[in-house]
């Protein structure tokens, strides 16, 4: 036994904090997969107290807003009187803005399905668990793929005249190139950009497009889905 010992024996010394237990850790397969990060607190009362305060603050804000901000109520529903424009709830206006540019099968069915599927599979892609920056190795091949994908999207959106998709794509895509060409910058913003992983860039691009489309659909679209300025 002693010659072939392939485990170690440990004993927790603080019986007040941890129940006493013997730990067998076989060599090379450490049971200690991850270090505990920092000290721990008892949920009762620490979590309960914080959650209660959060709930109270939220209730106060909601009540104050609800006192002064009236929910809209229009005329009785009339199937014969179509308002122009007929708008969906605000969280679907990004989708409605897409429908303005692309065929309904693409904008109304294909893209939303792809987005939901993409969200579901996010955690099962462990290509880059460490969160390595996009341009960590300044790979030329990666640059070619990046620029290629960017160009395809750019042309596609331009053909359909989808300017409200193209603008945020160009902005985020352009920012993504900055750390490649300027890797040793000292500015804090550029250092931040340079440390971002590929998944960060994809998600940021998605959020930028979604926010732009929703904002445009909510504030800048009038009769016939034409462009209007909200202050006019």
């Amino acid at each position: 036994m002693t010659e072939n010992k392939n485990f170690e024996v440990g004993l927790s010394s603080d019986a007040l904090r941890q129940p006493r237990r013997v730990v067998f850790i076989t060599r090379n397969t450490s049971a200690k997969v991850k270090e505990e990060v920092g000290p721990q607190l008892m949920s009762f009362p620490h979590v309960i107290l914080r959650e209660t305060i959060a709930f109270q603050l939220l209730t106060i804000v909601l009540v104050v807003l609800a006192l002064f901000w009236d929910a809209p109520l229009e005329q009785l529903a009339n199937p014969l009187l179509t308002p122009n424009p007929a708008k969906a709830p605000w969280y679907f206006l990004g989708l409605q803005e897409l429908l303005h540019y692309f065929p309904p099968l693409v904008a109304g069915v294909l893209l939303p399905t792809l987005v939901v599927l993409a969200l579901i599979v996010i955690p099962y892609f462990d290509v880059n668990v460490e969160g390595e920056p996009l341009w960590a190795h300044r790979s030329r091949r990666r640059l070619q793929i990046y620029v290629g994908a960017f160009a395809v999207l750019f042309v596609l959106f331009a053909i359909y005249g989808a300017w409200t998709v193209l603008a945020p794509t160009a902005l985020v895509g352009g920012l993504g190139l900055v750390p490649y060409f300027n890797p040793t910058s000292n500015s804090r913003f550029q250092k931040f950009l340079g440390s971002r992983s590929m998944s960060w860039w994809v998600m940021t691009w998605f959020i930028a497009v979604a926010l732009t489309l929703t904002a445009v659909g909510t504030f800048f679209r009038g009769p016939g889905w034409s462009w209007v300025w909200p202050w006019r």
């Binding site: 007040l16 904090r17 270090e35 505990e36 990060v37 920092g38 000290p39 721990q40 607190l41 008892m42 949920s43 009762f44 009362p45 620490h46 979590v47 309960i48 914080r50 959650e51 959060a54 709930f55 939220l58 209730t59 909601l62 009540v63 807003l65 609800a66 006192l67 901000w69 009236d70 929910a71 109520l73 229009e74 005329q75 009785l76 529903a77 009339n78 199937p79 009187l81 179509t82 007929a86 708008k87 969906a88 709830p89 969280y91 679907f92 989708l95 429908l99 309904p104 099968l105 109304g108 069915v109 969200l119 579901i120 996010i122 955690p123 462990d126 668990v129 969160g131 960060w200 998600m203």
Partner: protein, 248 residues
Amino acid sequence: MATTAWTHQRLEQLRQTRVWRSIFRRGPARTNRTRSLAVFGNLGLHVLPVKVREKSLRVRATYYLGSISFFLFVVLTITGILLMLYYHPAVPDAYRDMKDLVYVVSNGVFLRNLHRLAAQAMVAAVFWHMFHVFYRGGYKPPHEFNWVIGVGLLMVTLFLSYTGYLLPWDQLAFWAITVGTNIISYVPVLGRPIRFLLLGGHIIGQNALLRFYVLHCVILPLAAVVLIAMHFWRIQKDGGLTVRDDHD
């Protein structure tokens, strides 16, 4: 000070009573053992872990967005049940009930405002929660499946908000649902049958209102409760919230 001492004494006496001790079998939560019992001996609290990392409680770690989403759901359940007392899912009674809320029911406007505001806020909070979790890397192992449950909760939240949108039966409601359900008919092959199933017919009328009402008040809230319970439970089972060891 004297009153504080008096109150404290009375509370202590209350704690010693047979009735109190029959409800809370543990003693006062002053030791780690009784504090643990306070959590896992309680049906409502046992979804929480007994201990949490101090870092995961910092505001910057979560902005309490998940909790806020849940609290908004609680507010929506309470105001929703109260609204159900004044609502008939019928054409055109539904619209008349809205008018009654404004002109007849005491605090009816406030009740409806609160429900609508909390609904909008919940959609926004759930989206923000998801993006925040993504940027914190909270979806990474061992939290993969909880992220998937979260995506399910996002869908349920959107459908809850959407089905509620039709219920006032005004122009805004009718045409927003028209725009949305027209999109469904573009789904190949299944589009029209799904739309028919959802609306209970080819047009948005009495049947559609009733179906949206049942979805909004029964089916989707039940789905949400089940998913929320799983979501909370799995935070504990997956070893607590993700905390970073580098900074903040």
